[in-house]
Symmetry: C2
Subunit: 586 residues, 2 copies
Amino acid sequence: MLKRYFPILSWLPGYSRADLTNDAIAAAVVTIMLIPQGMAYAMLAGLPPQAGLYAAILPLLLYALFGTSRSLAVGPAAVIALMTAAAAGVVAETGSAEFHFAALWLALMSGAMMLLMGLFRLGFIASFLSHPVMSGFITASGILIAASQLRHLLGAPISGKTLPQVVPSIVGNLGNMTPATVILSSVLLVFLFWSRKGAAPVLMRLGLSAPSARLLAKAALLVAVVVSTLLVWVFGLERFGVAILGEIPRGLPDFGLPTVDLDLMQLLIVPAIMISIVGYVESISIGQTLAAKKRESVNPDNELIALGLANIGAGVSNAMPVTGGLARTIVNHDAGATTPAAGAMTALSIAAAIMVLTPLMYFLPRATLAAIIIVAVLSLLDFRALPRTWSYSRADGAAMAATMLFTLLVGVEQGLLAGVGLSLGLFLFRTSRPHMAVVGQVAGTEHFRNVARHKVATDPTVFAIRVDESLYFPNARALEDRIVQALSDQPGLRHVVLQCTAVNYIDASALESLEAINTRLKDGGVQFHLSEVKGPVMDQLERGHFMDDLTGEVFLTQFDAMVKLSPDLTSACANEERCDTLLRSA
Amino acid sequence: MLKRYFPILSWLPGYSRADLTNDAIAAAVVTIMLIPQGMAYAMLAGLPPQAGLYAAILPLLLYALFGTSRSLAVGPAAVIALMTAAAAGVVAETGSAEFHFAALWLALMSGAMMLLMGLFRLGFIASFLSHPVMSGFITASGILIAASQLRHLLGAPISGKTLPQVVPSIVGNLGNMTPATVILSSVLLVFLFWSRKGAAPVLMRLGLSAPSARLLAKAALLVAVVVSTLLVWVFGLERFGVAILGEIPRGLPDFGLPTVDLDLMQLLIVPAIMISIVGYVESISIGQTLAAKKRESVNPDNELIALGLANIGAGVSNAMPVTGGLARTIVNHDAGATTPAAGAMTALSIAAAIMVLTPLMYFLPRATLAAIIIVAVLSLLDFRALPRTWSYSRADGAAMAATMLFTLLVGVEQGLLAGVGLSLGLFLFRTSRPHMAVVGQVAGTEHFRNVARHKVATDPTVFAIRVDESLYFPNARALEDRIVQALSDQPGLRHVVLQCTAVNYIDASALESLEAINTRLKDGGVQFHLSEVKGPVMDQLERGHFMDDLTGEVFLTQFDAMVKLSPDLTSACANEERCDTLLRSA
């Protein structure tokens, strides 16, 4: 029981010296990545650089206590940072104190939502977000993120949150670029891109083993940071217009709940819901993928609780919303992290770095952080997903396209809402048209099959229909319409038999529909029968008064029903030849 | 083809003298009901009385041209009037010119939405509104409607749109009632209630046939109107504080599109969607019920087109939103209406009445109209629906209760949204947990059944699971979670077989999930197989690259899969006794 809520109890008692070594190495590698990435994502969110570092302390400690994934690296992440910037930008000016205040409330509120979803096992809410919508959203966000960093890469005052705002701003600022910044950015981008694939082979040639070389290659971020900072410092590049980070407060963040502002909280509800769902879906997919590699498991409810607490931790420590990040998680895993203790050690290293290293970052160019973001988001872009999804299913492709277009052209929240709305609408559209088959008897058998697909015998006084789905409100009307239609189409009709083989559930709407069908058929002088009703469904039906009002009977099988309602047909069909004659005369 | 869009072509050519007589009688009876009801519903909507009469002219003519129901009586209706009052009340003060302007745009916009839904066959959108939500909404609306009429019945300035506003207002106004109005209302209410059941027997004793007596009893409304008007006029009751209608403009309405106001239209989009859906659902249920009695059919798409045009007609003729009304439709049907021409004749009678009778309505007490509304809405109240639905299904009962509570306490739009939101959420919750069964082989057969329900043999190296639903985004994650879980639970696992007997469809989200399952199993050294995949689903899967990546095979049957993956088990199970030994040793 305790282990259910405190997963730490399942690994801490058996924690060994070997585990400690592995976790410490992983923590060191992740810290090296996290310091520049944390500051970069804070900049992306429109927050001061330290917010990204603070987001790597308390949240990581809380996740280590409550998380079930052994290698998930929690912290600031690109898409969540973009969503934070968009939401806080609606209520306050970027860079203002109110803006950071809004970001803290976003972390607190989305954290509280995740926590509640986890405690009440409401993780299914994340299933509102279909794969195509999530995938389209991430690609579109990646484009917007890259676009938002152009101002730092080019040293020009490019602004705007959507493509229709950014593109004219780029065009208008082509003459305002800062040459020194452009040169620095280009060098950094080339180096960082090269390092992704090219650094490891070089390090191997220098004598490192393949795994060590791959890990050390991740230090390319650190190299970029150190070298570009030194360049600025030594050559005084800030005099040539290269924007630098400037002073970063030294020491741990102030802890405490930000002032409660109900009006602000109301404005942030919808974005907080979105951040909690996107953050959770991103994180759980990464966690499950890695857990599978080690044949471990990740508990979705626990993950919600842990991520929720991590975000609340971010909110009370002057940080920003957090989630599990893909790149750092893979590094953490590859570096050999064996327990969540690696995350806790990362947090301690970051805390130490904040107390010692921040003065050294004074001359760190913003262009370096922008280049780090650009390289990170490129892995998010998947342009082939749209044609692939479209060719697989028009509905899913349309939902993905709508998400991308709305995100790029209108905004991140509108994009998500459009995608979720459209995929829900299309889903309801599909479920509102369940597969229904009018059935007839196969000659020489007791089987009944779709008249449209098989050579079967039917009786004009009996309308036998099979519904291949459970009956609930989205499809209740379709059945009603179809049977009422038959009533006017078949003048000789005397019996309707609903074959319930595939019906696992009947909700109150469908029950009302069945009652309406029964009444309408009765008014038209037709009896309504059921066949092959499953046990639990029968129990359900007997709870209402439907069974008392039913004009017809409930038959065990469709064949039993036809023996009673159309003895001529069934006796004729017992003999294959006679049935064929019947078919020809029909 | 022409008949598809002009259903009038299917009845007009065969129109006989007998039809004419029947329709004319029905039109006369409906007109007598519609004049007071139209003015009453206009008052309920916060509009001048003539708006309700105008709503019974052009809309009825348009419905007669485009409608497929032969006896549906279109016009102003109680619930739609309440929704109009609520929506227009948000953007303008009740009774102002802007208020009527908003009501006209509500009619135009909801009409346009219905028209589009009909033309593009989007009627399935109405399935968002489940039976319990609609039923709870109508009962709660009935209560609010009754409460809104207390000011007219008691002659006291009672105000408020929701119970928390109305109840204190009633208490505060207990001392402000107008005695003459209270007495008049009481007499009218007693008379109108009595007339519903008591008038017909009295008329029969006076020598009328049963059907004629029942129809003539409907003239009780007219009697109430005439007698109460005369009472006011003769005794000068207005001097005792009895509120009267006052001047009603004589003659036909001004036709024309109201001024386009984009800001206003944006504010009215959501209420217009709600009015179009509630109006359509109300109307189609009534239409289908009556059509079934005559074994005729009502085409849902045509009904949307016809109702849409009727509402657009209302919007351009200074009227108010309209839909098919239950009470008048039953009267129309009972009075013998055989074609939509009855509706057209009703429209002409109302037009004649407006040109001639309006001066006579100067002294008509508002209390009379309020009493007519009260008697009409009582038939809407169904208090037993909630306990009945709750006992049938907790989920449906909760959706109904939420709709009623939010409607009564917060407002009509919020009530509908809460109900639709909750029922959708609960529906997704249910579909997000599809029925999944781990299966094993039944001794001595080639059948595989749920291990939890049957005595079956399984192999610890094979995890065979059957999903009893199509795979789409709401349930994709559940399957992923379940299989990934098995990977960590069964250390000896080498094969996973997904039995797809019940899978009719796999959407892009589920496909991604299958790919993720395949990859994760591969990472864990486990092969992923499918069995009993239906033809169309197989075609679908082959469109993506899933089949190329699949680590395992696709088997025709679950038995084939087990013969290959676990020959020991299947050969042992061929012999019932040996299988039993196997079961005991497992």
